[in-house]
Subunit: 234 residues, 2 copies
C-alpha cells in the first residue's frame, strides 16, 4: 500500500510517517500544496493523508484539483478541531473521511486501513480469496487456515493482490506500489518476490496471466479433474 502524506509541520509529518510505516504502508511525503498537487496528480496512491493548512496552495484547492483531474485515491483530511466549515467543504470537495486534530495515531491507522479496504470494494479487515486469507490489521497471511510467515515486502504484495482480487495486476503496477517513485528497481524484483511467495504459499494461490500480470486464484479447482484452463476469457 502506497501512501502520500501532505503535511507541512515536520514533527507531525514524522509521526504520521512512522505510524503508517509501522502499519505496513509505503510512505511518501509532500510538504506544501504545490508538490502535493503534483505528486497526487502524477502518481497512483492507495491513500492520501491531507492536512488542510498548507503553504503555497491550501489543501482544499489541492483536493478539488485532484478530483477534477480524475484522481480517485481515497483522501483522509486532517482538520482543525471544531472547524465545521472545513469538514463540510472537505467532504464536498471529495474527501472520503476526515479526522479532527489532535487525534491518536491508532485512530488514524484504523481509518486509513478502512479507507484502503473500502476502496478495494470490501470493508472487512480479513480478506479471503480462494484458499488464502490475509489479515490486514495483524499483517498475517494463511492458506487453508494454516498461518504462513511472510516478510514485510511479501505482505505488501499479497495484500495488494487481495485488495485487487477481481482484476489482473500488471507487474509494473506492483513495482510502483511496492517501491513508489524509487525507479531503481527492476521488474525482476517483483518476479523474485512472487517466486518466494509461491514457495511459501504453495501452488494454486497466485496465478499468472501471461502478458498481463498476476492475480489471486479465485477458487480451488473444484474437482481433482485438472482441466488446465478453467478460465474462459483472455
Amino acid at each position: 500500500m502506497r501512501a502520500l502524506i501532505v503535511e507541512d509541520e515536520p514533527r507531525i509529518a514524522a509521526d504520521l510517517e512512522r505510524a503508517l510505516k509501522a502499519a505496513g504502508f509505503l510512505v511518501e511525503l509532500a510538504g506544501d500544496g504545490e508538490t502535493a498537487w503534483f505528486r497526487g496528480g502524477t502518481e497512483d496512491y492507495d491513500l492520501i493523508v491531507l492536512d488542510l493548512n498548507l503553504p503555497r496552495l491550501d489543501g482544499l484547492s489541492v483536493l478539488k484539483r485532484w478530483r477534477a483531474e480524475g484522481c480517485e485515491s481515497p483522501v483522509l483530511i486532517l482538520t482543525a478541531r471544531g472547524a465545521w466549515t472545513e469538514r463540510v467543504e472537505g467532504i464536498d470537495a471529495g474527501a472520503d473521511d476526515y479526522l479532527p486534530k489532535p487525534f491518536r495515531m491508532e485512530e488514524l491507522i484504523a481509518r486509513a486501513r478502512a479507507l484502503v479496504r473500502r476502496a478495494g470494494g470490501r470493508g472487512n479487515a480479513t480478506q479471503q480469496v480462494g484458499r488464502l486469507t490475509v489479515d490486514l490489521n495483524r499483517m498475517t497471511a494463511a492458506v487453508d487456515g494454516i498461518p504462513v510467515a511472510v516478510t514485510p515486502l511479501e505482505f505488501r504484495l499479497i495484500s495488494y493482490l487481495a485488495l485487487n482480487r477481481d482484476r489482473i495486476v500488471a507487474p509494473t503496477e506492483l513495482l510502483e506500489h511496492l517501491y513508489g517513485d524509487d525507479e531503481s528497481r527492476e521488474l525482476n524484483a517483483v518476479e523474485a518476490i512472487i517466486t518466494r511467495l509461491r514457495r511459501k504459499l504453495g501452488p494454486g494461490v497466485i496465478g499468472t496471466r501471461r502478458g498481463f500480470g498476476y492475480h489471486l486464484e479465485d477458487e480451488p479447482p473444484p474437482g481433482a479433474a485438472g482441466d488446465g484452463r478453467a478460465q474462459g476469457r483472455t
Copy 2:
C-alpha cells in the same frame, strides 16, 4: 502499563501517582479537563483514572468526548460519596468502573488492575502464555513454574506482551507504553531490555518477527523431536 491520572487536587494526585507507580504503572498526570482531553485523545493509555470535579472542563464531558472520538482506554472514575447520579451518568458516558471517594489505595489498585486485565480480554490476574506465567498483582514472572526475578521495567514490558498475546507488538509501540511521551529514548533501549529478558527467561519465550515486532511464543515445541514440517511461523 501506561496510565493517565486526571485529578486537580495535587495532594490526591500525588497519592494516586505514588500508588500506581508502586503497582508498576507508568504514570502521567493531567490537572484540568482540557489537558486531560488532549492527552487522552492523543495518546494511548492502558488505564485512565478520572476525577469528575475538574476545572475548565468537567470530567463527564471529557469522558464523552473521548468516547465520541474513538478512545477505548478503560476509564475508572472517582465520584463523591453518595453521588448516585454521577455514577449512573458516568457509566452511561462510557466509564468502565467507578470508585466512591474516599477510598483506600489498595482498592483503587485492585480495580485498576482488573480493568487493565479485562481490556486484554482475560480477567485473570495470572496470565499464562506458553511456558511463561506472569502474575500482574504480585509483579512476578515464571517460566515452567520456576520464578524468574525481573526488574520493574522488564516486568512492564513482559506484562504488556502478555496482555497483547494474540498479536505482534511493534517496537515503537513498546517504546510508547514503556516510556510514555518521553521521546528521548531510542529504539535500541527496547532491544536491550528484550535481550536481558531473554537471557533470564531462556529461549522460546519471546519471539521476533523481523520487520514487524515481538510476541510471546504461543506453545512450547510439543516434543523434543523437531517436527520438521513447515511451521507457519517462527
